[in-house]
């Protein structure tokens, strides 16, 4: 799973969001490091929708503009959890080895 896809799924965990809402949340989650361009965002959403990880929730018209909201599916939640566990495991192993190195153990 790519980082943008991971962040988009994470952005949808708490509530359905529309395109710009997702982009904003991704920026917040990544501490401003990942700023999804709209074309990129919709490419990611298409891919996640094709994999059954997200689906359209509802549509709203605000100030004459269409907002389509997306929500995380159960399948998407499962995929996100698996990826989060995998990343956390990797991070834990990296931290353990770094501590060993700092303590003067085997590099």
């Amino acid at each position: 799973m790519t980082e943008p896809a991971f962040l988009v799924l994470t952005a949808l965990v708490d509530e359905p969001r529309h395109g710009y809402g997702i982009a904003q949340e991704v920026e917040r989650l990544s501490g401003g490091r990942v700023q999804l361009k709209i074309g990129t965002l919709y490419g990611v959403l298409d891919r996640l929708a094709a994999d059954g990880c997200v689906e359209a929730d509802r549509e709203e018209v605000r100030q004459g503009r269409l907002r389509r909201y997306y929500r995380l599916t159960d399948e998407g939640a499962r995929a996100l959890e698996e990826e989060a566990v995998r990343l956390a495991d990797n991070a834990r192993r990296a931290v353990e080895r770094l501590r060993l190195r700092q303590a003067g153990g085997p590099a």
Partner: protein
């Protein structure tokens, strides 16, 4: 500020213009929400616009999305999927061809530089003194095209990134080692035309195997066969060319009758023969000329365009006799092939996707 980026603003109009890059059915489905998301970002001062113009990265993201959709990404129409498949097959066919050429060059390098001078009847000798930097550079330039084989191997083992890197190196490095002699504008045009077929192969590889493209991984046995056959063909050709060349130089065989054959085993000639073989295959396949052969026909049609340009660009215009006749014949064959393949491809596209200009789910 809000007027400048509000509804119907110049910024919105310009962004909508860029969205026209997207396929019509996708635009019908997504344009409004994409515009909405973009303009919301603009109103809140997000870095996606420059008051009146969408920024370059924003445009690039739309262009990349358009390319993926037109080449078989998620959400693309059956026609776009077929186009994507055709581009990927073009990359694969191109790699098979350049792998054969790589085998030919490598075989010729071994014959020219790797065999003791008096082992061949006429003492074939390469340029530069043995072990001189010039000799090393020339030998390397002849061996580097084997990177096409590396690219093909990587691709059929499901590693498109490695394939792209190897193919780019195979295209560029020989010209870095032995820069082309392009002192005149006409030379530059000839050279550019001659490299077009390889450039198109690399481009097809780069854009066809995007992140959403189906993985090209083949079973190990088929992958090995696909790799071994063109290398073997290239090496065999190099032996035939080398032996015939040596015999001509030794005076055993007269040069004139072999001139025609020569013109069909250099790169433009081999391109012509290879594309002709693919065309015959497409026409002879069961169910031809539409369904099963469609992606291959379209792929070969894509490759025929640079082949025609390369043949025209390197045409020996002043030449008469055997050389002029064979070059004209090659051009005629390539044009006939191109038209045939394009017709098969267009029929297949129409059969596959009558909805190329329609919104899915909406009649007519």
């Amino acid at each position: 500020m809000s007027e400048r980026i509000g509804r119907g603003s110049v910024l919105e109009e310009r962004y909508r213009r860029w969205l026209r890059l997207l396929p019509a059915p996708y635009r019908a489905e997504r344009e409004e929400e994409m515009v909405s998301a973009f303009m919301e970002g603009a109103q809140r001062g997000r870095a996606g616009h420059d008051d009146q113009r969408p920024r370059l990265l924003e445009i690039a993201s739309v262009a990349a999305l358009a390319l993926r959709l037109r080449l078989g990404g998620p959400g693309s129409t059956p026609g776009s999927s077929l186009c994507g498949e055709a581009v990927r097959r073009a990359a694969l066919l191109g790699l098979v061809f350049w792998t054969m050429v790589g085998g030919l060059y490598a075989g010729q390098a071994v014959l020219t530089y790797g065999i003791p001078v008096d082992a061949l009847p006429d003492g074939v000798m390469g340029i530069g003194d043995p072990e001189s930097p010039e000799r090393v550079r020339l030998v390397l330039a002849d061996l580097v095209p084997l990177l096409w084989a590396v690219a093909l191997g990587a691709l059929v083992h499901g590693r498109p990134r490695t394939a792209k890197a190897a193919a780019t190196a195979a295209l560029v490095v020989p010209y870095v080692l032995v820069p082309p002699l392009v002192s005149w504008q006409v030379d530059a045009v000839r050279w550019a035309c001659s490299v077009l077929p390889a450039v198109v192969t690399v481009l097809a590889l780069a854009i066809g195997f995007h992140r959403d493209a189906p993985p090209p991984r083949l079973p190990a046995r088929r992958a090995l066969l696909l790799l071994a056959l063109p290398i073997a063909a290239g090496v065999l050709l190099s032996v035939v060319v080398g032996v015939l060349g040596a015999m001509v130089r030794a005076g055993t065989v007269p040069a004139r009758p072999l001139m025609s054959a020569w013109m069909w085993v250099d790169t433009p000639g081999l391109t012509c023969v290879s594309l002709l073989a693919v065309t015959v295959w497409c026409l002879a396949r069961p169910g031809a000329p539409v369904k099963p052969a469609a992606p291959v026909a379209l792929a070969a049609a894509i490759l025929t365009v640079p082949a025609v340009l390369a043949r025209v660009g390197t045409m020996p215009w002043g030449a008469t006799g055997v050389i002029g006749l064979n070059a004209t014949l090659q051009l005629a064959v390539l044009l006939a092939i191109g038209i045939t393949l394009a017709l098969i491809g267009v029929r297949a596209l129409r059969a596959e996707d009558g909805s190329l200009t329609e919104v899915p789910g909406q009649p007519g």
